[in-house]
């Protein structure tokens, strides 16, 4: 189980876990709950160069479509095939099995702490 207090967050409701120069990215429980049941995810393939702030994927529920923004500049090294096959993992385990992409990056922008993010979503 991922320790949520160790993660960093964006105002777009993504979480970022830093491990050396590799970061793992997913969406928060708050975002998953707002979306409802996720039925489709579209993620960038390994090798894709991504730029912070750009839309790099989609998370689609029965009711709406959420866009995945790149929180960092870098290159995708892996997208989570398990989530592509079973999008409901985003709802059932957003901070764990429901991770979306792993990216290598050399620069990490200033992101929100756990406390700052929880304050943002009013929890």
């Amino acid at each position: 189980m991922t320790d949520q207090t160790e993660l960093q967050y964006t105002e777009e409701h993504e979480w970022v876990q830093v491990d050396g120069d590799t970061v793992t990215i997913g969406i928060t429980d708050y975002a998953a709950e707002k979306l409802g049941d996720v039925v489709y995810v579209d993620l960038p393939a390994a090798g894709t160069a991504i730029t912070s702030g750009n839309v790099v994927g989609e998370i689609e529920s029965t009711k709406s479509v959420g866009e995945l923004f790149a929180p960092v500049d870098g290159e995708v090294v892996e997208s989570n095939q398990a989530v592509i096959d079973a999008p409901e993992l985003v709802n059932s385990d957003p901070f764990g099995e429901g991770w979306l992409i792993k990216v290598t990056t050399s620069t990490l922008p200033k992101l929100l702490s756990h406390a700052e993010y929880r304050a943002l979503v009013g929890e």
């Binding site: 049941d37 029965t62 009711k63 709406s64």
Partner: protein
Amino acid sequence: MTEPGTTETGTTGTTERRSPLDEVHRAAGASFTDFAGWQMPVRYSSDLAEHHAVRTHAGIFDLSHMGEIVVVGPEAADALDYALAGKLSAIAEGQAKYSLLLGRDGGVIDDLVVYRTGDDRYMVVANASNREVVADELRDRTAPFEAEVFDESDDIALIALQGPDSLEVLQQTPGFGIQGPGNDGEDFAAALDGLKYYRAIAAEYDGEPVLIARTGYTGEDGFELYVAPERAARIWDALRETGGPRVVPCGLASRDTLRLEAGMPLYGHELGREVMPVQAGLGRVVALSKEGDFVGRAAIEQGTPADAPVLVGLALEGRRAARADYEVFDGDAPDGKRVGVVTSGALSPTLGHPIAMAFVTPDAAEKGRTLTVDVRGTRVPASVVPLPFYKRGA
């Protein structure tokens, strides 16, 4: 990701109204959405699970935001024949009819279910967002008749029990009876058994009147219970207690995917003031054969232009849903001409592929025709299929 909004229709009101069942929903952990100025449950836990529950067992919905407008008087039947598109004078006491409130130009101001609750009394059920306009129009239109219009929406809560187990659960729930003296639970169970689709009975719960109708908006068998607001929570709890795991509380998200699979129009999506009934496949709802004038008659008789868009069902490939306002193109070539626009769409939980309703030009509306939908920059193949997408087994 972007803050995901909810996509239900309805104007965001400045006043936030709450259902008489609000506390029940909060205790059950519901997520809420603003719907036509009301805070209503969008889901309790999973909209997919709620959807499947209605298809396989039963779901219970709070629809207390709907408008109930009563028309009463010796000329109530004639007044509604003039005010609405259908021949309401022809329905018997205890019968319900789907109808339309048309503008003078023939466009749809609202779609309605009208119950004849007495010889001289009708209850008109309107969409929440249109409650005021329907009440106002009915007052104007019925003014020359001996009939009065009362907006009783604030005094009526609405609970829908939908799904194949609905009949059994309602029959088994203690406290219900047929209105009047000398009835018991056996009479009630028998009366429900014999209650046909689009019929209603005057029943009671703990001695208080409840109108029970075999109607719904899900494509399943089911009932709608019009009850006093102060009784709503007790009846809701009683149905859940009796049904146990067979009765799942359902929010507006599942209601939308259920009605979409059943090919039922939603006001603001498939219906609106710029839509003539025939375009939405509702020509049969307009009773041109009835005697006398009715509002919208002249415009309907004039007909719609031959090239007016018509509503079709679309079945898409893949998993990505076509959603409201996405553009529809002819054929599967990249340069196919634009033929229309999606009004509602979702990945069908029952069928497993995306479904949508769309207005397209008549030449593109033939069954089996291949079209494409622009899903956020990607052209996704779609074929025109008959409505409804889903029909329950006998």
